[in-house]
């Protein structure tokens, strides 16, 4: 394997790692946001009763 190929692999690994982290972060943000909205709706509905 040439040096350039190994360098390309290193960058691909780095970009893949960053991409996986960002995907996980955004997915968790959307999930927690949906759950938080549901819980807040429940709490405000109970307060109105």
């Amino acid at each position: 394997m040439s040096g350039v190929t190994e360098l390309g692999l290193a960058y691909a690994a780095l970009i893949g790692l960053l991409g996986a982290y960002v995907y996980r972060l955004v997915t968790r943000l959307a999930d927690v946001d949906a759950r938080l909205t549901a819980v807040e709706d429940t709490v405000s509905a109970e307060e109105n009763e």
Binding site: G3, A10, A13, L18, R28, T42
Partner: protein, 156 residues
């Protein structure tokens, strides 16, 4: 703060620890040098952030856990200047500081521009991820607080 800090330290640390040896095997002929102070202190720093992330996720929240995590976190904090100054004290594989202009060191302007562009890009990425991660931690904390409040209302 410690959640965001340890997550991002692990992310960027793993980025270096995974991509570095691939580059090292091409450039130096060996992926890792156990005699190089910079490599080993950086590896240890990444291991500290891995411990912080795993301990936070697996241990019950209590005074003992918080004290242990804080103590290991302080060790990591003390390790940062050691890693930064490692190539000044002891040069094995890594060269000394090259961006300071002198008779023996210095960078060509085009390489310096690429380095500064890379630094600015990663700094922006770090700030963006820190804001997102901190927002997530706050939302999770609020969700947990509201769920406890609901549980208490149901039981009373």
């Amino acid at each position: 703060m410690i959640c965001t800090g340890s997550d991002l330290a692990l992310l960027f640390g793993l980025g270096v620890v995974i991509s570095g040896p691939i580059w090292g095997s091409a450039e130096w002929g060996v992926p890792w040098d156990w005699g190089d102070l910079r490599l080993n202190t950086y590896g240890l720093l990444t291991a500290v952030s891995l411990f912080l992330v795993l301990a936070r996720g697996s241990q019950p929240d209590g005074q003992g856990t918080r004290d242990t995590i804080a103590a290991i976190g302080l060790f990591g904090f003390a390790l940062v200047p050691v890693t930064a100054l490692a190539t000044t004290w002891y040069q094995e594989r890594h060269p000394g500081i090259v961006i300071i202009e002198s008779e023996e060191t210095g960078l060509a302007p085009e390489i310096l521009n690429v380095l500064l562009l890379g630094f600015a890009s990663f700094l922006l990425l770090f700030i963006g991820l820190a804001i997102l991660s901190d927002t997530l931690q706050r939302m999770e904390s609020r969700l947990s607080h509201l769920q406890r409040q609901l549980d208490q209302e149901v039981t009373h």
